[in-house]
């Protein structure tokens, strides 16, 4: 053990109460930082998981109309000016098979499913509701969404076997008082077709659960009178974070608009990010308090130990040794505080994750959603380290600046 560390340890134990206060503040700061980051990130991650499970990582939809204006110089010259005049889109995808085949060439694409979408009126025995029908190829759809896992009543196999079967959102089914096996009518384009509820799904996203009815693609084509083409292709990716880059490449290659989930859910994601940052700032106040407590404790020790500092300096201890002795003290408190803080943070995160909290609307959960992420602990420790060490530098430097002659003279007189 270095002499400076040995001295730091003794100084620490001499001011037990003050040190315990500093330690408690550090533990609280780190623990709360971990907890708040775990909960805010937890909800954000759960939201992302939900939206990826319903609408996929990306949608390839409307065709881009070439609007490039060119002027070519006459007289056999090769001179040419090109100017793009903004993008225009032609609604829908005319050749979904070609698009899906092209999508398969992208290494990050794990699945692609065509969807035909249209507005319908759902007629049940008691009331009617406006909705949107989604014509899907079930097997393809299951590869790009969590639809199979979102079934809360009935099963997917029944839908697979029933040509006139439908998957209905829970909110819509409740409003229409429909359950599995019930029949209803979808009305669109002036025609009415009868379907049976094969299963009821629940994504937790209210806008989806109250609006969407999934039917087989062939049924949707008949209902919407669209014998060819689809509204969009839902794409799933192996690495969801690369969606924006992939979307740009796809748009360039496929000449169809491609919207990554980050763009699609921009407003919600911004809200979650703002929430996470604001809670981090709030909790940083606790670590700031830890820093202030450390400052206070060390400042007290400097005042009380001026004589000891003079002795050490008279024995050949340098200014940097004195600084080190005080920084060691801060470092010891910080290390113990960070360690205990992480344990407290992890335990409270575990406790909070079991707290009942029924939420539905943007996602569905019955308990607090938390995220177990090592970076939260790294961030918490880094924040606490910054606060505590900055706060400790001032008294440490003050101690180092003390002139031994002044101290000895002051004490002797």
């Amino acid at each position: 053990m270095s002499p400076n560390l040995r001295i730091a340890l003794r100084f620490l134990t001499a001011k037990k109460r003050a040190m315990l206060m500093s330690l408690s503040c550090t533990v609280l700061g780190v623990g709360l930082f971990v907890l708040t980051q775990a909960t805010t990130s937890g909800f954000e991650e759960f939201f992302i998981k939900t939206i990826l499970g319903t609408d996929g990582a990306m949608r390839v939809e409307d065709k881009i109309q070439d609007t490039l204006r060119q002027m070519t110089a006459g007289g056999g010259s090769d001179f040419q000016i090109s100017q793009r005049q903004g993008l225009k889109y032609i609604e829908g995808i005319e050749e979904p098979k070609l698009i899906i085949n092209a999508l398969k060439d992208f290494s990050n694409v794990s699945g692609a499913a065509p969807v035909l979408r249209g507005s319908v009126l759902v007629r049940a025995d008691f009331k009617n509701e406006s909705a949107q029908v989604f014509g899907i190829h079930l097997e393809d759809q299951l590869k790009v969404s969590d639809l199979g896992r979102q079934i809360v009543q009935g099963d997917v196999a029944t839908f697979r076997e029933q040509p006139a079967g439908a998957l209905m959102g829970r909110v819509l089914a409740d409003r229409l008082q429909l359950s599995t096996g019930s029949s209803f009518i979808l009305e669109a384009q002036g025609q009415r077709l009868r379907y049976t509820v094969s299963a009821i799904y629940e994504t937790g996203v209210a806008d989806i659960d109250k609006m969407r009815v999934y039917v087989h693609m062939s049924e949707a084509r008949s209902l919407l009178k669209k014998p060819s083409g689809v509204s969009f292709v839902q794409v799933n990716l192996f690495d969801k974070d690369r969606a924006p880059q992939n979307a740009m490449q796809m748009q360039e290659v496929l000449k169809h608009s491609a919207r990554p989930w980050q763009e699609r859910e921009k407003s919600w994601l911004s809200t979650f990010r703002a929430l996470r940052i604001s809670s981090a700032i709030t909790v940083s106040v606790f670590t700031l308090i830890a820093g202030l407590a450390m400052f206070n404790t060390l400042a007290m020790i400097v005042l009380e130990k001026t004589k000891d500092i003079a002795i050490l300096r008279s024995m050949g201890y340098e200014r940097r040794d004195i600084t080190q002795i005080f920084l060691w003290q801060a470092g010891i408190v910080l290390t113990i505080g960070a360690l205990l803080g992480c344990i407290v943070g992890a335990l409270s995160t575990l406790g909070v994750s079991h707290m009942p909290l029924p939420i539905s609307g943007i996602f569905k959960t019955e308990t607090f959603v938390v995220s177990w992420n090592g970076w939260h602990y790294v961030e918490a420790i880094t924040t606490a380290a910054l606060m505590v060490m900055i706060a400790s530098l001032i008294p440490a430097r003050r101690a180092a600046r003390l002139e031994p002659g002044d101290i000895v003279r002051g004490t002797a007189q």
């Binding site: 003079a310 002795i311 300096r313 340098e318």
Partner: protein, 228 residues
Amino acid sequence: MAFINELALRCNGLHRYLGQDDARVHVLKGVSFAARRGEVYAIVGPSGCGKSTLLYLLGLLDRPDGGEIEINGQLMSTSDDAARTAARGEHIGFVFQFHFLMMEFSALDNVMMPMRKLGRLSQQEMVERAHSLLSSVGLGDKTHRLGTQLSGGEQQRVAVARALANQPSIILADEPTGNLDVKNSGLVFDLLTRLAKENGQAVILVTHNPEIAARCDFTRPMRDGLFA
């Protein structure tokens, strides 16, 4: 002893002002002094004559406003803080009036403290030397007692042992017996001078005690910032 009578410390024309503005006092007015190894010097004089100020300057704890200080032939008055600190650790041992032990540490730890910083000896050698020094000041059986568990006389004896720890060439003692009873005063003084002479160290002590001063090799009376 090879170093006996070698010049350990020399100062020439030392000036020192203390206080600021209207309260500024010219404490030392061109003091010159030299000390040889193996000899004991007493600086005496009334309170406020500048004895302690001179001692702190000689011990490189303070900086002079004018004049020169040489330690073992090396000019130190103009050197930087690092060089002065290193010189203190290697060449100078201090004994203060109020013992100045580090109370959270044992007697053994206090004596080992300068050795740990100098880093010349192994842990085992440091422990052995600290034990030996504490035994020589009569505290061989109290090595593990904390500073708070020692009497005033015992604390000062630990301070003497600590001052000798790195075998410095100069021992500076500021009223080493000023806070002790007669019996302990004699004991500490005898220890200091005996061990210093045995090791060939120059001992410079500031004292108000005429008996102690009379027992030193040289006595230098001071008055109004100058040697009389």
